[in-house]
């Protein structure tokens, strides 16, 4: 199950020896060190890493919102330099536009791309339905609960029809109960409408529940420590003995990264 990070040069996403340092006065903080990983099309990869170890920086580099100090990221053979709608992001703090309704948020990407109103409306409706928010089309984000806001965030990313979804600890701020529910939802939505997903979390159980493959990161400066292929049948039962065994084993590796 454990396998060393062998890179396939023809993978959809290729993160090739990426490093990132921040210079602050005379001090240089190395956040990412020589990160190499690849992701296949429609694969669900979970990046698992402890606390404040630069996971968000890695997501921002994959998204094109930040530049790597060294190495490069390519998606479908094309180098990532700027934000582009082919990569959708679901944020930890939802980052919904508070002045737009659920409908307005979900339809934002298509609107920017100039999709005709009728088609936009249909697409928006479809994705609001997919995330289970029908009836809340006209609500403003301020009136929604944390879990509902994350659903809007997911629908907004999906509605723009990206080939890659980057999810940066999307459930970090939710209570435990809602978190379980949202994990099931993400699994369901992804099974219905497959995309290539890179999902970042610090929660081992969440990682084992969702991932085709887990990439375990070390602490600062962050680098790839290990990879685990998860071959359990979906949807997974997080009480099954196989699930618990995997969780424990990966947990032991996480311990070692501290």
């Amino acid at each position: 199950m454990e396998h060393s990070g062998k890179i396939k040069k023809d993978a959809m996403i290729l993160c090739d020896h990426v490093s990132k340092s921040f210079v602050n006065g005379n001090e240089t903080a190395e956040v990412l060190k020589d990160i190499t990983l690849s992701v296949e099309e429609n694969e669900f990869v979970v990046i698992l890493g402890p606390g404040q170890c630069g996971k968000t920086t890695l997501v921002n580099i994959l998204a094109g919102l930040e530049r790597a100090s060294g190495g490069e990221v390519t998606v479908n053979g094309k180098k990532v330099t700027d934000p582009e709608p082919e990569r959708g992001v679901v944020y930890q703090k939802t980052a919904l536009f508070p002045w737009l309704t659920v409908e307005g948020n979900v339809g934002f990407g298509p609107k920017m791309a100039g999709v005709p109103k009728k088609e936009r409306k249909e697409r928006t409706k479809h994705y609001i339905e997919l995330v289970g928010l029908s009836g809340f089309e006209k609500s403003y984000p301020i009136k929604l609960s944390g879990g509902m806001r994350q659903r809007v965030g997911i629908a907004r990313a999906y509605c723009n029809n990206p080939s890659v979804l980057l999810m940066d600890e999307p459930f970090g701020h939710l209570d435990a109960q809602t978190r379980y529910l949202m994990q099931e939802e993400v699994e369901r939505i992804w099974s219905q409408d497959k995309r290539t997903v890179i999902f970042v979390t610090n929660n081992i159980e969440e990682a084992v529940y969702l991932a085709d493959r887990i990439v375990l990161l070390s602490n600062c400066p962050t680098t790839v420590r290990n990879e685990f292929k998860i071959d359990l049948q979906r949807p997974r039962d997080n009480m099954s003995s196989e699930f618990l065994r995997l969780r424990e084993e990966i947990g032991r590796h996480v311990e070692m990264t501290r």
Partner: protein, 264 residues
Amino acid sequence: MRKKIRFQNTKAETAVYFCASLTGLLLIWYLAVRYTNLNKVMPSPFEVFAFVGSSFVKNIGSRILPFHILASLKRVFVGYFLACIIGIPLGIIMGCSRTGKAVIKPIFELLRPIPGLAWIPLAILWFGIGESSKYFIICVSAIVSIILNSYSGASQVDPILTGAAKMLGARPIQIFFYITLPSSVPQIFAGLQVGLSSSWMAVIAAEMIRASEGAGWIITTGMESGNTVQILSGMISIGLVGLLLASLLRLMERGLCAWNIQGK
């Protein structure tokens, strides 16, 4: 359900306190004038309200009270409108563009501490004593807080939201219209609110210098003829109209920024 009832209660409570505090003020005023020597310099509230009432049909100077107020309002609207169409774009340019900020901010910081009323002498020399100088004074009085708030609104746009818009494919011009502008609306409104009360104050000052009608004129002529009833009537009308203007703007804000109001 329960929440709604509570909400109505607080609203009713506020209204009761509002009336009680105003009645209290009038009562103290009345008693003070009735039983102390204050009556040598102050009329009683009844005299003032009687004067306000009668001036709806009887001229003060050349016209009735509502027309005086309309004359002042017209000046405010012209000056304030100018301040808005100059101030909002200037503030937003300062907030969005680093070059814009570098060019405009030093000038603005230098002019900002000068009160609008300090411009009166220059205004009179430049524009004479007619209406234009009043518009100018009102405009410079209102513009400072309008620029300042538009600037801080446009410069404090959450970078995560801008990033999210970029990821969804928004181009810079779209980010400006769909993210920067709507996200600064509440701040801009705060500036408009302060600017409106500044311009209402400025019109009174401008009219006290030279005018033949207006709420400020009522006060000054009252002073010249030693008529305290007329002075207080003018002052009360100014207070009421100012309150009305602020409430109107607040209603407009509530409509435009519904997304920003919790639980509405």
